[in-house]
């Protein structure tokens, strides 16, 4: 039932109208297109095995193109930061997306990840294989 098959995503550089102004859309008695329950199957590719997902708009937080299964974020350790802090090369031609300056704080000479940015999964979401249709 979903709405993304046209891939008309609004980008800063190319605005397309998504407004259903043509009147072609039929209002059925149900009011809803038919959908059904499903299973969330997350992208299984491991870090370094998949291509980046295009951002929704310039500077939107990138979504996660790899599996996060087995990775954890806790008070004592954060498995994301290891690769993403510096944007290390994971496999040939695949570097982890480097965390931007906004994610760090400087106190004196020391730079560290801002505490308020520590819960990576609050913005960066693992994605399923569902394409949105």
């Amino acid at each position: 039932m979903f709405l993304f098959k046209t891939k008309k995503i609004i980008l800063i550089t190319g605005i397309v109208s998504l407004c259903a102004c043509s009147g072609a859309w039929q209002y059925h008695k149900s009011g809803l297109a038919k959908g059904s329950p499903g299973m969330n199957a997350y992208i299984a590719a491991q870090p370094g095995e998949s291509a980046r997902i295009e951002r929704l708009y310039e500077n939107a937080p990138p979504m996660i193109p790899h599996s996060v299964s087995g990775l954890s974020i806790s008070k004592t350790s954060n498995d994301c930061i290891g690769c993403h802090e510096e944007g290390v090369e994971i496999s040939s031609g695949h570097s982890a997306t480097r965390m931007p300056g906004s994610h760090f704080v400087k106190s004196g000479e020391k730079e560290s990840v801002a505490g308020i940015r520590y819960n990576c999964l609050q913005c960066h979401l693992p994605q399923t294989e569902v394409k949105g249709e």
Binding site: L56, M63, G101, E111, L125
Partner: protein
């Protein structure tokens, strides 16, 4: 605040306090400055109240940023916040009124057909007049939400109570934070938390009472995380009925059986007294003890009524009362070990540890929600850990203006603005004076709370039901009964919304609404902060703001006098991007409504600032006296209402000599518990990616792809016992209904054995056909967190 240019924005960033964000320019890589206009607005989603900068290009939202000037979110946003540029632009946006028609005229069994606003509103007016004539004002019901802007809720309340003379106005916030309201009212005599988000940086312990903040309040959780990372002595304790993401940062996760939080809180109080961890001096000076009725029922019957009868009690009686909640009994009821109970008592009792208690739906959507609110407040009162930096009982809210609109404006059947109620003749007199009405206009009797309202619709006592800014027919419990009720002949259902939903499916008439920055608005968040925004883009097609809909309906009903204001005082300023409602009224309507509304609270501890002040700030927290906001209430030096020399005054409770109330409230079991036929507990709730019924978030690609389907979380041992594995399809049924969906055994939510968890965002998994319509007799929110279900494998 006016528009922010890029240069100013960068200046704000680099001047934002002690934290220096490196390379701020990268936020604007490329050339987005071209033709892009930025302005501020509160986020459309939860009750945290983050400020976002909205980037508009040629009349379209194309980007958002966390607002670096916002004291709430400090430049950050969560995934839902970052999805805001897409919520307005779903392909199936409602852009014309729709009427259910057959053979060219309205027919309840017809199909939705496009109509004009004139036809649609003529029909609404005809049906409302018919109901008024046949059944009287109480049969015309408005059901709004905590997503109404302040002036939408205010206009609706004024029209219903002062125009139609009907108290049949309720909001979905009834299901959400009504128990927090009655909790604060019965303990302190005034609604809403006394603290503010500044307390986060001052606290040493964060105790979550059934609130998965990591997913439901991510930005606030990140502020807690920042605090935990910067001070190794600071701790988070996750008290919960199932394991969840908030536990990842927790020093301890404590799992308890549903409903037994009542016993746990009383058990902590018992240990505090036994170990002499209470503050006797504080108790003597600032507390009275009270006991109410017990064995109070569950609101399961139509026409259920309850009135508490508080009696004065005393410390010795209270001590005796909680002494039966021994660690042994608490463990037997809740499954929480003595060690964990002692640990909690140590944290609440240690004078060196500043404690913030948080709660939302776990405590509020509870058949004893008011009691549970009282019991958490008790712990802070017994120890004196209240109304000081880092020490507060802190209820969170789920909707952007559950506080600002529902609670403060009082859009409930029994309430009026500023904590006043229709049952009180003096309060009615004050409202009638401000509204310029004949004395006796406002009816004195409340009609229906949310559940009673939809039951009345089923019975035929309510004839017209107008659902606005909420998805009633996905979000109410025990939906099978209420959907059938709405579809009966002689019931007229109006749904104002932005997209087709399970509610438009049932509607007789659908009115297309404007969304968020398509209108001018105000929201009030969980820390008493009211935050305004301006209209930034036009609404699509013929969509109209809910305020326009209310005003135009009022005009057609002959109540235009309720919304007539001085055109010289409230003229629309030159260059102002006036809303459709302002253009209709020919004045700056939002300003006129605000200035009238704020008269209710001035001098009564609910002081709001003049209209213009809010457009210049990222919100202000009431009471605002002499231009200064209040970050901690009831404490001398912070709150201008506290008399000099008293130190602390719970001035909402004048009848109790400005003292707060510690309540004697027992553990009582829930109405339905697992048995042989229905052996599992069912708990429902949200997920980080989706908001409420998913109307907006399921139309955003990144969010939809991140969590397309509602699944049922099961413990692997339970799954194995049933011969079910991850990805298998099952049927979940209760005495009320059933759903079919897929099993998850290793997701982010892990229920204990004997419980399953299903989120309610997915319109293809209508879990509320399974849930129970039991409620707290005092506050009347439904208990979405516990009922008994059966799980069966579908081969």
């Amino acid at each position: 605040m006016s528009k922010i240019t890029r240069r100013e924005f960068v200046k704000i960033l680099s001047a934002s306090g002690t934290i220096i964000y490196l390379n701020p320019n990268e936020l604007f890589a490329g050339d987005p400055e071209k033709d892009l206009v930025w302005d501020k607005a509160p986020c459309r989603f939860c009750g945290t109240g983050c400020s976002v900068l909205v980037g508009v290009k040629k009349g379209k939202i194309v980007a958002v940023k966390g607002d670096p000037e916002s004291p709430v979110n400090r430049g950050t946003l969560c995934a839902k916040g970052y999805s805001l540029p897409f919520i307005n632009y779903g392909k199936d946006r409602l852009i014309k009124p729709l009427i259910r028609m057959k053979n060219g005229k309205y027919d309840k069994n017809g199909e939705l057909k496009e109509s004009s606003w004139d036809e649609a509103l003529d029909l609404v007016v005809a049906k409302v007049k018919e109901a008024l004539n046949q059944k009287g004002p109480a049969s015309v019901a408005m059901f709004g939400s905590g997503q109404w802007t302040v002036w939408e809720g205010y206009a609706a309340s004024k029209l219903w109570k002062g125009g139609l003379r009907s108290n049949s106005i309720e909001v979905n916030a009834r299901h959400c934070m009504a128990s927090a309201v009655t909790g604060f009212m019965t303990t302190f005599g005034m609604d809403e938390p006394m603290g503010s988000y500044e307390d986060f940086e001052n606290a040493g312990a964060f105790i979550l009472w059934g609130a998965n903040m990591a997913e439901m309040h991510p930005i606030l959780f990140s502020r807690i995380t920042a605090r935990l990372l910067s001070d190794k002595n600071a701790n988070l304790i996750n008290l919960t009925t199932y394991s969840n993401r908030s536990s990842e940062m927790a020093a301890r996760e404590i799992i308890f059986k549903p409903q037994t939080d009542l016993a746990i809180a009383n058990g902590i109080a018992n240990l505090l007294i036994r170990h002499v961890k209470i503050s006797k001096e504080f108790i003597d000076k600032f507390i009275v003890f009270k006991q109410g009725r017990e064995n109070i029922g569950y609101g399961l019957e139509d026409g259920f009524k309850f009135k508490d009868e508080p009696k004065l009690s005393g410390f010795e009686d209270y001590k005796q009362y909680v002494s039966k909640y021994t660690p042994e009994l608490v463990e037997e009821l809740s499954g929480v070990s003595r060690k964990d109970l002692e640990y909690l008592a140590e944290i609440y009792g240690n004078p060196e540890i500043k404690v913030l208690s948080f709660w939302t739906m776990g405590v509020n959507q509870h058949t004893r929600g008011t009691w549970m609110n009282n019991l958490i407040n008790n712990l802070h009162l017994l120890t004196g850990k209240i109304s000081s930096p880092g020490n507060q009982p802190f209820s969170l809210t789920g909707q952007p203006s559950a506080c600002g609109t529902c609670r403060e404006v009082g859009t409930f059947t029994h309430r009026l603005p500023a904590d006043m109620v229709v049952m009180n003749s003096e309060h009615r007199r004050i409202a009638e004076k401000i509204w310029n009405l004949q004395p006796g206009t406002i009816p004195y009797a409340p009609t229906y709370n949310a559940i009673e309202m939809i039951r009345a619709l089923d019975r035929g006592d309510v004839k017209v039901f107008w659902s606005m800014t909420t998805n009633t027919f996905q979000s109410f419990p025990n939906l099978n009964r209420y959907k059938k009720g709405a579809l009966k002949d002689g019931r007229f259902i109006i749904v104002s919304d932005i997209y087709p939903t399970r509610s438009t499916e049932i509607a007789d008439i659908v009115l297309p609404s404007a969304l968020w920055v398509e209108k001018e608005g105000a929201f009030g968040n969980a820390e008493r902060r009211t935050h305004f925004w301006k209209k930034m883009i036009p609404a699509p097609g013929e969509a109209k703001s809910d305020l326009w809909q209310i005003i135009e309906f009022a005009r057609r009903m002959g109540f235009e006098n309720l919304f007539e204001y001085s055109s010289s005082e409230y003229h629309i300023p030159e260059g102002h991007n006036a809303s459709d409602a302002s253009l209709l009224a020919g004045i700056y309507l939002e300003k006129a409504l605000w200035e009238e509304y704020r008269q209710f609270g001035l001098g009564k501890g609910h002081d709001l600032a003049p209209f213009e002040a809010y457009h210049k700030t990222r919100g202000l927290r009431w009471p605002i006296v002499d231009g200064k906001e209040t970050i901690i209430r009831y404490r001398e030096g912070y709150d201008p209402y506290v008399e000099k020399g008293t130190g602390l005054q719970f001035y909402g409770n004048k009848k109790d000599q400005n003292k707060a109330v510690v309540w004697l409230r027992p553990y009582e079991p829930p109405p339905e518990v697992p048995d042989e036929n229905y052996p599992f507990w069912l708990c429902t709730g949200r997920v980080l990616e989706h908001w409420h019924s998913g109307t907006m978030t399921r139309r955003v690609k990144s969010l939809y792809r991140a969590y397309p389907y509602a699944t049922v979380a099961m413990h692997p041992v339970d799954a194995e016992k049933m011969g079910v594995k991850k990805g298998d399809k099952v049927k979940i049924s209760s005495r009320r209904g059933e759903v079919k969906l897929y099993v998850e055994t290793d997701g982010r939510v892990m229920p204990p054995q004997g419980m399953v968890y299903v989120p309610w965002f997915d319109e293809n998994v209508m879990i509320n056909e399974v849930t129970i319509d039991a409620y707290c007799p005092i506050s009347a929110p439904s208990d979405f967190k516990k009922c008994a279900v059966r799980v069966e494998k579908i081969s």
